[in-house]
Each structure stands twice: as C-alpha cells, then as structure tokens.
C-alpha cells in the first residue's frame, strides 16, 4: 500500500513515527543518491560516509519536514551541501591553485571550487582505460567532465530534477544550468560514441 505513496507522503508518515515509510523512501533513493555522491567525490568509502551522513540528516529533519518542494529536490540539495562541507573541510588537501577561497560562502566561488577539484586517482582516465567494460567507460566519461557539468548531469539522471530545480539547488540561472547540461551530454556522447 505504501508503495503507491508519493515521496513526500512517505516522509510525512516517517515524521509521524512510521519507520516503514522511511524504509520505503530509502529503498527508492539509496542507489541514486549513492551514485551521485560517488561520481562527485570519486571515492567509494567516502561516498558511503557521505551517503550515511545525508540520510542521518534526513532522519534528524523528519519532524520539521514540510513538502514545499519535491522530496528528491530536498534530498539532493542536502547531499550537495554535504559535499560542499566536505570540500571546505578538506580544502588544505586540495592543491592550492584549485581552491580560491575555501571559507567564502559565495556560490560562484563554491562552483569554482567544485570546478577545480581533481578527479580521484582511481578514476583517472589512464587507470580506467585499462578496464574496457561499459561501466568503466561511462565512469571515465563522467570523470572527464567538468565538475559543474557533471553535477548537472547527475542531478538530472540520478535525482530526476528539472532544470528549474537544479538551478534552484545550485544557485545559478536556469539558462546556465541548461547550457551546462547541453555541454555535458555532448561530451558524454562524444566519449561514448563507439558504445552508443
């Protein structure tokens, strides 16, 4: 019966004390949220840690939850903020030229920060090219994308967010988002052209 419920209704039911509603909601988004985080940070262990933190935040926010937006938009916004927190916290480990100002709250500079993040070592193209299956090829193609373009693509594919929702979540204009998505799709098509 709960399988037919909307995400928002499930979250409200969980806020009212229904643990099964949360299990249903978690089952719907566990994979997509994890992949979003994994593609963004490039480290499975870190992705699992971030994944767990995001869901803990959802649990803690259950009583104050209001369905002002779609649940997926709310969830991936939390995930994005968690990623930014992670980037800020580990800014010293990022090469100095990659971090303009880790303490700056300005969204553009956060975007720059994400833009300049290096890909994880095991996601580097020369590592991934050694394995030639499709999954690795797509991982390679995504890792090769600029982070902001990759973010828009992942929010579209994993989060199911619209351009407006992505624009709102990332703090940029709709046209900017649209442009980033167009570039991302074009680069992916080019990288995967022999598999499509």
């Amino acid at each position: 019966m709960q399988a037919d419920w909307s995400d928002e209704r499930l979250m409200l039911a969980y806020g009212a004390g229904d643990a099964d509603a949360f299990a249903m909601l978690y089952d719907r988004y566990r994979g997509s949220l994890y992949r979003y985080l994994l593609r963004q940070c490039g480290n499975p262990a870190l992705a699992e840690e971030l994944h767990q933190d995001v869901w803990f935040r959802v649990v803690n926010a259950r009583t104050g939850y209001e369905p002002l937006a779609r649940f997926s938009t709310w969830l991936f916004r939390i995930a994005r903020h968690r990623l930014i927190d992670h980037y800020r916290k580990h800014a010293p480990q990022i090469p100095a030229h990659s971090v303009p100002d880790a303490a700056d709250d300005d969204l553009d500079e956060i975007g720059d920060l994400i833009e300049r993040l290096p890909a994880a070592t095991h996601e580097m193209p020369h590592v991934l090219y050694e394995r030639q299956d499709a999954a690795q090829r797509i991982s390679l193609a995504l890792a090769d994308l600029p982070p902001l373009q990759r973010e828009v693509f992942l929010l579209t594919e994993e989060g199911g967010l619209t351009l407006e929702e992505i624009a709102q979540a990332t703090g940029v204009g709709r046209e900017t988002t649209k442009s980033r998505l167009r570039y991302a799709l074009g680069k992916l098509r080019h990288a995967l052209r022999d598999l499509l």
Binding site: G17, F22, Y26, W55, T63, A134, A135, T156, E157, T162
Partner: protein, 266 residues
C-alpha cells in the same frame, strides 16, 4: 523520477546507456546502519511521547472527583435540617445576643417584653385559641396567662423603649438564619420614627414586625425557659457563677412568673 522539461537538452541514448551501466549501490552495512538509526529515532520519540494510563487520565479523573465532591457537598448542605440542635441553637442565640448587645443594650428585656406582648395578644384574643403549647412555652410562663397588670404595664413604659421593644424582636432575638437580619433595620427605622408617638398598645407592638418575619421566627425565637435554665446550670458547673447569676437575673426578668427550680431559688 526522470522529469525533464520540454526545452531541456536530452540525449535518450546517453541517458539509457548511463542508467543501464550505472549500477553501483551502497553496501548493506551502510543500509543497515541508516535504517537502524531511523528506527531508533522514531522509537525514542514514540517511547517519550506515549504516556501511561495514569498520565493520560489524571486530569479527567481529577475533574470528575472535584465535580462529585462539589455536588455531594451541595446536596448535603441543601438537605441539612433548618432547625438547629438545642445546644447549637443556644450557642448561636448567645452569639447573636452578643452581637446585638452594643446596638441595643436592653435588647433581651425588650425582646422578651415584645414576645410577651405578642403571646398575650395571641392568648387573650380569640384568634388562635388552640395555639400549640410548644409555641407558647418559651414565651409565656407555664403558670398560664400573663397578669393583667403586666399587660397594662407594657404600653405604659417609656415611649422610646417601647417602640424599640416592638422593633427589636427581629433584631435582637436571635435567629439561626438570615431572615431576621433584613428585618432589623426596617424595624429599627420604624421605631425611631415613632419616638414621639403615643404609648403603644400590645397588639401594634407585635404588628410592627413583618408578619412573614414573625411567623418565620416564631419557632426559633427566644430560648425555652428549660433550655435557659440548663445553660445556667452548665455555667455553674463550669465554675462561672458570675455569668450564671447574671443569666439568672436575666431569666427572671424575662420569665418573672416561671417557677424556679429549687436550686435557683435564693
């Protein structure tokens, strides 16, 4: 899940390829930790919020108990007999006499005279020849009728005193209720306005008090002679001979013809 706006850039082949091959999942350990935390959070909240039956019902129970007690007390008060027990009546009479004393120094005498006058009127007249003995007993000595010279003496007294006498039964004669209280000022007012009037006859003296008040106060007014004597005995037993003597003098003033028992004779 995948809602894309119409003008949103699309590449169905890329999207399909991505979804087909992007199959990474979090480990089951992470899943279990998250689900356990979610259940614990809800369980904590539930255990905190659900009160015991006592906490849930204590307010209605308290309200119900208060209501039952209030109703019981109200019903008991309503059903309590109006006539006080003899000792209670005597005590309340004494208290009332004490309260009225400053206002009217000779209240007892005046009240007694007034009662006497009323009794005489009732006795001498043919209106109520069959008046119960219990009513007359406190007012009229058991010897029977009041002597004619006493009847004649009553209206011949000081005018002020007489008019006050006529008024005072309502004020000075103790009542156990509040019926006498409203009557007192009116009666006193009547008395003061009659200071220059001619000597009153016994009948008008009794008629000064409102008939309803008179009727209502009749069973309660004054102490019965036997009760009074009992009180005097009690005072003697308690070692208060002065007060007993004073009460006896008062008694003799009110009931001059009452045959005193041996112990009270000089």
């Amino acid at each position: 899940m995948n809602e894309v706006h119409e003008d949103s850039p699309k590449d169905p082949q890329v999207s399909e390829f991505y979804r087909k091959h992007a199959t990474e999942q979090p480990s089951t350990a992470v899943d279990e930790r998250i689900l356990a935390a979610a259940r614990v959070a809800v369980a904590d909240r539930t255990s905190r919020k659900v009160p015991g039956w006592w906490q849930r019902w204590r307010t209605p129970l308290a309200l119900g108990t208060t209501l039952v007690l209030t109703l019981s007390l109200a019903l008991l008060h309503e059903r309590r007999p109006v006539v006080l027990a003899p000792e209670g009546r005597a005590a309340s009479q004494k208290a009332a006499v004490g309260r009225a004393a400053p206002a009217a120094a000779t209240s007892s005498e005046q009240a007694a005279d007034s009662r006497l006058a009323e009794a005489v009127k009732r006795d001498s007249g043919d209106a109520q020849p069959s008046l119960p003995v219990e009513v007359l007993r406190p007012m009229v000595p058991p010897s029977g009728r009041v002597p004619a010279e006493r009847i004649a003496r009553l209206p011949a007294s000081n005018a002020v005193g007489e008019s006050s006498e006529a008024a005072l039964p309502a004020a000075a004669v103790p009542h156990n209720g509040t019926a006498g209280a409203p009557a007192a000022p009116a009666a006193l007012g009547t008395a003061t306005t009659r200071q220059d009037a001619a000597p009153l006859k016994p009948a008008p003296a009794a008629a000064v008090a409102p008939p309803s008040a008179l009727t209502k106060s009749r069973p309660e007014e004054g102490r019965a002679a036997s009760d009074w004597l009992d009180e005097i005995r009690a005072l003697r037993r308690q070692g208060n001979p002065e007060e007993a003597e004073s009460q006896l003098r008062e008694f003799r003033r009110v009931y001059p013809d009452y045959p005193l028992p041996e112990e009270f004779r000089p």
